[in-house]
């Protein structure tokens, strides 16, 4: 796409923290929707010159919603740089915190955004307040999980956003049995409430046939590469091999050495976005094409893994696959169900860790190791693969940093997915002068399904916040800049 003109502007994307917008771009033969990310904070630059053992705390500031994901993955990278294998106890602590992070983020999205969005399909306003009117008990349960999660997090990690506890080779504090006993109680309450949300979802969205109906819409379809961590083929959120499958489900690559991620992922810079567009390197960069797009996140994880651990999670996983008719699932609306599977998985995995005696015994930090120049950390943040790649000098001062966040990777996916709608959008505007309610709803639902953490959307650039009920202010602007219609 070497020459194109700005044809329409959807500006801004509201109810998203920060500012993003959707722009439609046309050339003579094609129409594209473009998701623009618009803030600029420069974490890769500010990391230069910093002491590398301090990077986990510094880089956690990339995101105030999934700050622990950044803190943990930064810790993994500095473990490598300092040449230290983290102690078994500290690894369990970190894994536990990772599960809490994913659980928190997923529950937030599922309860406050995903559920309302899908169950209220057909209505203009699809958010928690609307759902409150119709199903107050459900909303109460959802909000109660929020406060319980905060209590749990405060108890175990103290400062909820940007707390520091990761050091090279370990963590600064561990848990004792009393704390964990209390945490288990709270987790039990969260689990019970989650069952309510689970049942509501299955009833209203799955058994009612709504999901199948929506899943038939081509607009939500994305036949792209899927990338996720696996451990022995199992869905894995902390330590695993990078598995890439193609749109037909064939394993294209499986890389145990995470530091070789750049064999799979390349980044493209475009002038209309402060975020890069990552793509599948072997395919070569093809803007807005499924052929070089990589999807990450809950749906991708469901697709790439062969199994999900945890008894209940495994059952749910099986049911999801049966309903969808097998893998890989290409319809993004299934991401909501995938999130539910992971919620159940996280709760079961947390209980497993809390039962291990190794969580309470042993060293918290390993201070022995021979430093090396480069270190890469990879883990699964709630929204997908997160990568921190650091290089340092002989005194362990950072000389460069590279951060690829899941929403950056999905930036390309969102953009590619949006093109499936822009055709009808242009048609409607040309013929009726305004997009239909339905088209707007489709675009909203599509973006919500990705759960973009616009906070992280780029290491270079920050958009704030995480997925919120997304609705758009649509504005149609002619090439001369004249506003033709505003919605």
């Amino acid at each position: 796409m070497s020459e194109y003109r700005l044809y329409k502007v959807l500006d801004p994307v509201t109810l998203v923290e920060g500012v993003a917008r959707v722009v439609i771009v046309t050339s003579d033969r094609e129409v594209r929707a473009v998701y623009q990310i618009m803030e600029f904070r420069g974490f890769e630059k500010l990391a230069i010159g910093r002491k590398m053992e301090e990077l986990p705390r510094i880089m956690s500031a990339i995101c105030g919603v999934c700050s622990w994901s950044h803190h943990l993955v930064s810790g993994k990278a500095v473990d490598v740089v300092f040449g230290r294998r983290p102690t078994p106890r500290s690894t369990l602590v970190r894994k536990l915190v990772n599960y809490i992070q994913v659980l928190d983020s997923h529950l937030l999205h599922f309860a406050l955004i995903g559920l309302p969005d899908v169950t209220l399909w057909g209505e203009t306003q699809r958010d928690i307040s609307k759902l409150l009117a119709k199903n107050p008990e459900l909303v109460e349960a959802a909000l109660k999980t929020r406060s319980l999660l905060k209590v749990l997090e405060k108890k175990l990690v103290g400062k909820i956003q940007h707390g520091g506890f990761v050091v090279p080779g370990g963590v600064t504090r561990g848990f004792n049995r009393d704390e964990i006993a209390e945490a288990e109680k709270i987790l039990g309450e969260i689990s019970d409430l989650t069952i309510k949300l689970h049942e509501f979802f299955k009833d209203r969205v799955v058994y009612s046939g709504l999901l199948r109906k929506l899943a038939e819409r081509g607009e939500f379809d994305l036949k792209a590469y899927n990338l996720g961590l696996v451990s022995g083929g199992d869905l894995e959120l902390y330590d695993g091999a990078l598995r890439l499958i193609d749109s037909r489900g064939r394993i294209v690559a499986e890389i145990a050495d995470n530091s070789k991620y750049s064999d799979l992922i390349g980044e493209a810079t475009v002038p209309w976005n402060y975020a890069t567009l990552p793509y599948y390197k072997q395919a070569g960069f093809k803007l807005f094409s499924e052929e070089s797009t990589i999807l990450v996140g809950p749906l991708a994880r469901i697709n790439v893994s062969s199994r999900v651990r945890g008894e209940k999670a495994s059952l749910e996983y099986g049911e999801l696959l049966e309903y969808a008719g097998g893998k890989p699932i290409s319809n993004l609306l299934y991401a909501h169900w995938a999130r539910l599977v992971e919620i159940i998985h996280c709760i079961e995995m947390m209980r497993e860790i809390m039962d291990k005696s190794e969580l309470y015994e042993g060293e918290l930090v390993n201070t022995k190791g021979s430093p090396v120049e480069k270190g890469v950390g990879v883990l699964e943040a709630p929204r997908g693969i997160l990568i921190h790649d650091y290089t340092g000098d002989g005194e362990l001062i950072a000389t460069s940093a590279r951060v690829i966040t899941p929403t950056t990777i999905n930036n390309m996916a969102i953009n590619t997915n949006l093109t499936k709608v822009s055709g009808r959008l242009v048609e409607e505007i040309r013929s009726k002068g305004e997009p239909s309610r339905e088209t707007i709803a489709i675009m909203e639902s599509m973006i919500r399904a990705y759960d973009p953490c616009n906070s992280c959307a780029t290491h270079v650039l920050r958009i704030n916040g995480h997925a919120q009920p997304v609705s758009f202010t649509l504005m149609v602007v002619s090439e001369e800049g004249e506003v033709l219609w505003r919605g």
Partner: protein
């Protein structure tokens, strides 16, 4: 009903989530204020906000990184009666302020420089970058609520101030800097004997196994407590992680870096000055690396050091 607007600038989302998590106190505020804009919670567009003639209280989160953000911050602030800078980025620039010494293009090049693929062309109206600044560089705010993110304590104080404003109609002695007017050490849960601290040397965070009861300085670890305003309940210290100074300096207009090196001068190797002499002392001080990232991690943009650098470049009047 008074009008309250919450505006995100260049944020990470932490302050938004923190504010949204205050719980029932928010309901007290909602007795007096109607929230006319708050993207994380309320479905109102910027165009709606543009139609509002006067905003009673504006809460701004995050820094300012683009021309659009700058114009918006200025425009909305000029029609707001009470302006609140929420969060350390808004008050002091925060961690992104570490890029203050570079131009936006230099920062952008770091990302562009290692891409595998470049496309030229139209920027499609992408907003222009401006040298990064804090909200307090755009306007003079009435209430400053520091913290990364602000603690429950500071948020409670903020909401109390807003309720007071609703009742009294004015803010006493601006700007109000929330938190306690003393350093963290005074209230530190490790109860240090602040007049008898002896720092045995300079150690980096990875060089020691951290003791969870002793003052960090007494372990040779740099804790920004002495130079940081007491704005929190010390969650970091309780998690056995040293304070990194996210509350900013003790007072508005203060500087965390010069304060901290003064403190270090007071406590470093105080028992062995006369045996180590200058060569021994310099040997130890030479272990200190990255003064900016250590002492100005959150406050560089508003620091005296930044002003000094601007003066050197010929920028200050």
């Amino acid at each position: 009903m008074l009008k309250l607007a919450v505006i995100p600038g260049a944020i990470c989302g932490g302050c938004d989530v923190a504010l949204a998590s205050v719980g029932e106190k928010l309901l007290d505020v909602l007795k007096y204020y109607e929230i006319v804009y708050w993207p994380i919670a309320i479905d109102r567009k910027l165009s709606d906000l543009e139609a509002v003639e006067e905003i009673d209280a504006l809460i701004y989160m995050g820094g300012v990184s683009t021309r659009e953000e700058y114009e918006l911050a200025r425009k909305l602030s000029s029609k707001s009666r009470v302006k609140v800078a929420l969060g350390t980025c808004s008050v002091y620039g925060g961690i992104p302020g570490l890029n203050s010494l570079s131009s936006p293009l230099e920062v952008y090049k770091v990302n562009m420089g290692r891409s595998d693929h470049w496309i030229q062309g139209d920027s499609l109206g992408l907003p222009q970058l401006v040298p990064y600044m804090a909200y307090t560089d755009v306007v003079e705010p009435d209430i400053l609520a520091p913290g990364c993110p602000p603690s429950g304590k500071v948020l409670d104080q903020l909401l109390e101030q807003l309720i007071e404003y609703a009742a009294k109609g004015k803010i006493d002695h601006k700007p109000i800097l929330l938190g306690d007017p003393e350093s963290l050490c005074n209230k530190c849960p490790r109860n240090p004997k602040t007049t008898k601290i002896k720092m045995p040397g300079i150690k980096r965070l990875h060089e020691v196994e951290l003791d969870d009861k002793k003052c960090f300085l007494e372990q040779g670890i740099l804790c920004m407590g002495p130079a940081t305003r007491n704005i929190c309940d010390h969650s970091c210290i309780k998690t056995n992680y040293p304070c990194t100074g996210c509350g900013g300096p003790l007072d508005w207009g203060g500087d965390s870096g010069v304060s901290m090196i003064s403190s270090i001068g007071s406590v470093l190797l105080v028992d062995s000055e006369k045996s180590l002499l200058e060569p021994g002392l310099t040997r130890e001080i030479d272990k200190l690396r990255d003064y900016i990232g250590t002492f100005y991690r959150y406050t560089l943009r508003k620091s005296m050091l930044y002003k000094l650098r601007e003066l050197k470049k010929g920028g200050l009047k």
